[in-house]
């Protein structure tokens, strides 16, 4: 009985850790969707680029990777802004399928550029805290996992404060509620688009960094599956709803690790889509999504 409980807690803990990565990705996607009403299927590629930037700086300088995360996030704000300006802005409002097709082009470009720059071999980063564990109840937990959860919470709270307290944040919320109305009251929506896209990419960079510091191996193709799962999460949680993304992210992390334990590791990726399809059959607008057009 005691052993079962331990396994159960272990699964929950793994689920929470995986959920953190999904929360960051899904929140970034939601931010972009909320403001621009576009869906960027290449979001996972920003996670991958963020992870590689962190890893490269870490290999060269040896600075604590948790600090490098900030640099990586800043770099991704820049990359995101360029991608928004060059690729997404010209097709804004030209049909919903176009942005999906455009994302495929971006996936080709980013994955293979990364493979050219960093090769497509699996790599890994050794965190300075690797090997340190902390005893919580019956579980001994790696310190890195706790730090990952704390950093996720800090980033999400920071984003929340930014959206609530700053002028830019308020402009972003206004744009997402009513784009034309925001334009009427003098919000430069194109500037807000760039900022939202950049911030979304920065969150992806944070997700990528936190993923690799936990000791996971990575290669240029690491991003696609988590990104698509992040999509499943925001569809479940309701497009544009940030609390929905947080709850959905945690649930997805738990479901996935539960399924991997019960059905075998091979089901880890498929289970999220099984859940997605079941939910969409029952409710075509998502769990918390409103009835829309």
């Amino acid at each position: 009985m005691m052993e079962n409980l331990e396994v159960f807690l272990q699964i929950i803990f793994w689920g929470l850790y995986a959920g953190c990565i999904y929360i960051l990705l899904a929140t970034g996607l939601n931010l972009i969707f909320g403001v621009m009403k576009i869906v960027n299927f290449a979001h996972g590629e920003f996670l991958m680029i963020g992870a590689y930037i962190t890893a490269t700086i870490f290999f060269i300088s040896g600075i604590n990777p948790y600090l490098i995360m900030l640099l990586s996030m800043l770099a991704l704000i820049g990359i995101g802004a360029v991608v928004e300006r060059l690729c997404f802005r010209p097709i804004l409002g030209t049909g919903k399928l176009n942005e999906i097709f455009l994302s495929i082009g971006l996936i080709y470009i980013f994955q293979n550029m990364a493979a050219i720059i960093w090769t497509d071999e699996w790599q890994s980063v050794k965190s300075p805290y690797a090997g340190i564990t902390i005893q919580i109840g019956p579980l001994s937990v790696p310190l890195d996992y706790i730090l990952i959860m704390i950093f996720t919470a800090v980033i999400i709270c920071g984003l929340y404060l930014f959206l609530k307290k700053t002028t830019t944040g308020m402009q972003m919320r206004a744009t997402s509620q009513n784009r034309k109305g925001a334009m009427l009251v003098g919000v430069d929506v194109e500037r807000i688009d760039v900022i939202s896209f950049g911030l979304g990419c920065a969150l992806a960079a944070a997700a990528g960094t936190l993923w690799i510091v936990s000791g996971q191996i990575f290669n240029p193709y690491m991003g696609s599956i988590p990104a698509i799962k992040a999509f499943a999460i925001i569809i479940l949680g309701g497009l544009g709803s940030i609390p929905g993304a947080i709850i959905g992210g945690l649930l997805m992390g738990l479901a996935e690790n539960g399924a991997a334990f019960l059905l075998g590791g091979i089901w880890k990726d498929a289970i999220s889509f099984v859940i997605l399809i079941i939910v969409l059959v029952v409710r075509p607008t998502g769990l918390f999504g409103e009835k829309g057009d």
Partner: protein, 329 residues
């Protein structure tokens, strides 16, 4: 004399057909024949994807139907000993049946949701193939698939090429017929405005399901043809790459047109093989990605609209031409 669009289409079709028939006599290379066979199967595959897109549904997991058709045909052929020429169409029917099932969940969904569900479905099918169905499918290792034409027959590659060419032409003719008929008009009406389509008495759910079935059937045919040509099948067939290629071909060639998938597949295959000479590996994908994005932004109707665009450009230049002279005198 100015060529009209219809004339370009007509002469282009005749020329392409003549080249396709004559090419094995002009170039005596097994490598080229092999390449052409793969290109033909991808023409069918891209056309199938395009047919679904015509009804306003953009799938990101068409590799699922491609692979199901291939696996079903292979399994039926190996278990029963029926000729692959027949099992191709039975395997494709299995793909169409599953297409309808997945279509049932998709028809009421918005674009992004549909893209997600189809993408996820390909991953689910791959997982099933390597786990539950592994005793049948051989898991990750895959299984041998009977050749379309037995290699013991002399000149079997040529027979195979012409057989696949005939099936490709028949598929495109079938799509042409469908798109010209009431069904095709209904697809287009739903894509343009679902509400108006319903007002005109079209049941969008039924026609979307029909589009799914037809598209999955043709994708299944394409997959089965490719696998019976290669002679071996692995779960890699469900990979993301196989889902993205038809999208890339169609967008480059011209979305929603009959010639688009054909032109796109041929053009990209030539570019792809041409770039191989330069020794690029990952760079080729980067170039394809850049081309895809440029096409979406600057040539939204694809390569097939290029003659029209050029004519327009020439006409505008002619109009502008005399103006500076007038200003000069």
């Amino acid at each position: 004399m100015r060529l009209t669009q219809d004339a370009i289409f007509k002469y282009g079709t005749i020329l392409t057909l003549l080249i396709a028939i004559a090419i094995p006599f002009l170039i005596d290379s097994m490598f080229i024949i092999n390449l052409l066979v793969l290109m033909l199967t991808f023409i069918i595959f891209a056309s199938a994807w395009n047919l679904l897109a015509c009804s306003g549904q953009g799938s990101l997991g068409h590799a699922a139907f491609f692979g199901i058709g291939a696996y079903a045909s292979t399994l039926i052929a190996t278990q029963s000993g029926i000729s692959p020429f027949i099992t191709i169409f039975i395997g494709a029917a299995v793909a169409a049946f599953i297409g309808v099932l997945i279509g049932l969940t998709c028809v009421r969904l918005k674009e992004w949701f549909l893209a997600m569900v189809t993408f996820g479905f390909a991953i689910i099918v791959q997982t099933l193939t390597v786990s539950v169905l592994a005793p049948l499918t051989g898991g990750w290792d895959g299984i041998a698939s009977p050749r379309l034409v037995s290699p013991s027959i002399p000149g079997y590659q040529l027979i195979e090429y012409y057989a696949i060419l005939v099936i490709t032409i028949a598929s495109i003719a079938a799509i042409w017929y469908i798109m010209k008929s009431r069904i095709g008009l209904a697809f287009l009406a739903i894509r343009e405005n679902e509400l108006e389509a319903r007002a005109a008495g079209i049941d969008p759910v039924r026609y979307r399901l029909l589009a799914f079935a037809l598209s999955a059937y043709l994708a299944g045919v394409a997959g089965a043809l490719m696998i019976h040509h290669i002679g071996y099948i692995t779960p890699e067939i469900y990979g993301v790459e196989n889902s993205f290629w038809p999208v890339t071909y169609v967008i480059l060639g011209g979305l929603g047109t009959l010639a688009g998938p054909v032109v796109g597949t041929i053009a990209l295959t030539i570019i792809w093989e041409g770039l191989k000479v330069t020794g690029l590996t990952f760079g080729r994908y980067v170039i394809v990605g850049v081309m895809l994005i440029l096409a979406i932004i600057f040539l939204p109707r694809g390569l097939v609209s290029l003659p029209e665009r050029v004519q327009e450009w020439v006409r505008r230049r002619r109009k502008k031409g005399p103006l500076p002279e007038l200003a000069g005198s």
